[in-house]
């Protein structure tokens, strides 16, 4: 019983140590990840039901396909990968560490045959003097050697970049660090979204999970503006934000311009320009009213939906408007508003008024009066992404470590040289952890230099 238990534990250990499992998990993760790129993630159920049948919907929902990167089985695969790389590292690291910390100092005959590169060099002199020559040569051209004397022969060993063998483990470790950063972020951070109308402020944010978070301070949107290129493509979305503590502006955090790619951070919470729209309170319309007979003109200002008295007993209310009518009326531009005009004692008449460029258009309506839309003040709200992620620094640490590890593992090679010095001759042996062909070239160069010297 005991032995089978032990056997099972070993089997499980071997299973998690195996490279085949790594390959299987990596390819498996690659394959299942495709699902979430084809099925849109996190949409409301109605949207899915428009394109797929109800049975399919239920099946997909059961399988977690609508939020698959957070489904139990995807997370499980990631845990398996983590476990796999931890076990692989635990199994292999001691062996690699031994190569680094306890190098083979003596190249005996058996070890020599295991090396792919060996060269015999004839030299004049006794072993001791040749040894001194080789030591200073290696010190200058390669690395300082360790000298061991065995039976009157001198054994030299020198190495370069031994620690680059740890690169693979640095990369594995960095992946775990990134995961830890992600876990910290998911527990201690939040992501949310707020709309702030111009002039308004907020101190609470609703997160993606539907939880309301108190910021502990408030953010006021002083102004929002959008600029366009001549082509009509957007050029810049800009919010001017002020941070308020207890209703008072915080010094240095007033009227901070926030544009896409330039967020505002305060107390670990970051605000990103994300969207915008017309504010609910509607625009103010500046309308000039001219009497056709007398020519007397006055200016009035009307808020959207407000019923305003006009000279001579008529009334006007603006239903809606826009700063640019191009999308709605072909061949016209500038501001425009849909109004409802009620002449004295008459029925309400709906029509459109435009800017002063279009006098003849505006003269078609309004009875005794000619209404011209001088300008309008459209108020916007700004849509801000709000994020707090204390794990993000840990993630960057992991990424930096990954880059270092990759450089060690991919671009550096552990190079080792052995020399056995006897009277009148030296036998060299060499090995490199990577690019053996390239190492052989530099090995031969070294031998040539020795011959010349």
């Amino acid at each position: 019983m005991n032995t089978t238990k032990r056997g099972f534990a070993y089997q499980l250990w071997d299973f998690f140590c195996s490279l085949r499992l790594s390959i299987f998990l990596l390819i498996g993760l690659a394959l299942v990840s495709i699902i979430g790129t084809i099925i849109p993630q996190g949409n409301p159920p109605q949207e899915y039901l428009q394109t797929i049948s109800e049975t399919k919907f239920k099946l997909y929902q059961q399988l977690g396909f609508f939020d698959m990167y957070h489904s139990w089985w995807f997370i499980l695969l990631l845990y398996f990968l983590t476990l796999n790389l931890i076990c692989c590292s635990i199994k292999r690291l001691p062996r690699v560490w031994k190569i680094i910390s306890e190098p083979v100092l003596v190249m005996d005959d058996r070890f020599e045959t295991s090396l792919s590169i060996t060269r015999d060099v004839k030299m004049t002199g006794a072993a001791a003097s040749i040894k001194d020559q080789i030591v200073s040569f290696l010190k200058q051209e390669f690395a300082e050697p360790v000298v061991t004397e065995v039976n009157g022969e001198y054994h030299l060993f020198a190495q370069k970049h031994a620690w680059c063998r740890l690169g693979v483990y640095v990369v594995h470790f960095s992946i775990i660090i990134v995961f830890i950063g992600a876990i910290i972020g998911s527990f201690a951070g939040y992501k949310g979204y707020v709309n702030i109308p111009e002039g308004g402020s907020i101190s609470r944010v609703v997160t993606r999970n539907g939880k309301a978070v108190d910021l502990g301070f408030a953010v006021r949107c002083e102004k929002f503006s959008v600029a366009f290129y001549d082509t009509g493509a957007p050029k810049e979305f800009k919010s001017l934000l002020t941070v308020l503590e207890n209703g008072q502006p915080v010094a240095g955090k007033q009227n901070i311009p926030v544009i896409v790619n330039e967020p505002l951070t305060y107390k670990g919470v970051t605000f990103y320009q994300s969207s915008y729209g017309p504010s609910d309170e509607g625009a103010s319309y500046h309308i000039s009213v001219k009497n056709r007979k007398t020519g007397a003109a006055t200016q009035i200002t009307a808020r959207q939906g407000e019923r305003v008295a006009l000279p001579g007993g008529a009334f006007l209310s603006v239903m809606e408007g826009t700063a640019d009518v191009r999308p709605f009326m072909k061949d016209f531009d500038g501001p425009g508003a849909q109004v409802e005009f009620t002449p004295p004692g008459g029925q309400p008449q709906p029509f459109v008024i435009l800017g002063d460029k279009y006098q003849s258009f505006n003269e078609q309506h309004g009875g005794d009066l000619v209404l011209t839309l001088a300008s309008l003040d459209q108020k916007f709200y700004t849509g801000l992404q709000v994020a707090k992620d204390p794990g993000v620094l840990v993630v960057w640490l992991g990424c930096a470590l990954m880059v270092v590890g990759i450089c060690m593992a991919f671009f550096m090679s552990h190079k080792r040289l052995w020399a056995r010095v006897t009277d009148g001759s030296v036998t060299f042996g060499g090995s490199a952890s990577k690019n053996p062909a390239g190492f052989e070239l530099s090995f031969d160069e070294l031998m040539q230099k020795l011959n010349k010297g």
Binding site: K191, I259, V403
Partner: protein
């Protein structure tokens, strides 16, 4: 002279280079192989000038941004990086036959861009107005290009491996005789991926850093991000396969081809078929 004319010259030169490389396979003359490399180098210099000129043109038009902002510019840059990685490997290892299977990738890219993509220089939309754009795009495309080179080499491996298994010896194989030995091809494939994988990793990291800076989240499982991770998984599997018995050689070559297919889908397929945050390229 406009950049468009330079792009055309580069395109024709890549076509000529491809033809010379195939002539090299047929003629087995070393001089012809060298001519193929020089043609590719000339095309590369012309394309470099064209990209530089286009950069200048964008300043002349008052937009002033690096030519890395839309589909046309990225396809052109992709072809440029493919030739760059190919030339580096060619000068280092001197296996000329590889050109016949790599230069066509750059040729297809440039021809597609010149013949059917909109080459207008557009101003940058707000989301792209960041210096991260350069770091992110350059690292990603250099990585993609190394994978393109690896894919070309893997196709050669699979052809030669198939021929040898069918009993045809290398010497008798005509064109095949100029292919490097399967062992060499396997090694070259590995070397190309050793260039590509670190660059892709850097590309993903710079992308995450930018996303965090612009959107407040370094990873949102957007289709583009996910596909870049899929590509990363495939090449990570490749690197682990290299040290696993039974996975060297043919399977590694197949993984490399699959990896490049995933790369192309990540680059183009996601923009054409899926919706997400990276929709600038449409």
């Amino acid at each position: 002279m406009s950049s468009s004319m330079f792009f055309n010259v580069a395109m024709v030169t890549y076509l000529v280079s491809t033809c010379i490389f195939f002539a090299f396979l047929a003629s087995r003359s070393k001089a012809v192989g060298l001519a193929g490399t020089y043609a590719a180098l000339f095309g590369f210099l012309v394309e470099t000038a064209a990209i530089g000129l286009r950069w200048k043109e964008s300043y002349d038009q008052g937009h002033g941004h690096a030519p890395l902002s839309n589909l046309f510019e990225s396809v052109v840059f992709f072809s440029w990086t493919i030739i760059l990685i190919f030339l580096i490997m060619d000068f280092k290892y001197k296996y000329r036959a590889v050109g016949a299977f790599v230069v066509p990738f750059a040729l297809f890219g440039l021809a597609w861009a010149q013949l059917s993509l909109d080459s207008g220089i557009e101003p940058l939309v707000p989301a792209l107005q960041s210096s991260w754009l350069m770091y992110h795009v350059i690292t990603c495309f250099l990585g993609y290009a190394a994978f393109a080179v690896a894919c070309g080499i893997s196709i050669m491996y699979l052809i030669r491996d198939k021929m040898e298994q069918n009993g045809g010896s290398a010497a008798a194989g005509g064109m095949l005789s100029m292919f490097p030995a399967v062992k060499v091809l396997d090694d070259l494939n590995y070397k190309a991926i050793m260039i590509g994988f670190p660059l892709l990793s850097l590309g993903i990291i710079t992308g995450a850093a930018w996303a965090n800076y612009a959107w407040g989240t370094y990873w949102s499982w957007d289709p583009k991000e996910t596909w870049s991770l899929i590509v990363w998984f495939v090449y990570a599997a490749f690197l682990h396969a290299r040290i696993t018995r039974g996975w060297v050689g043919r399977r590694a070559a197949i993984l490399s081809v699959i990896g490049f297919a995933a790369t192309i889908f990540c680059y183009l397929g996601v923009n054409l078929f899926l919706s997400g945050l990276h929709s600038y390229g449409k």
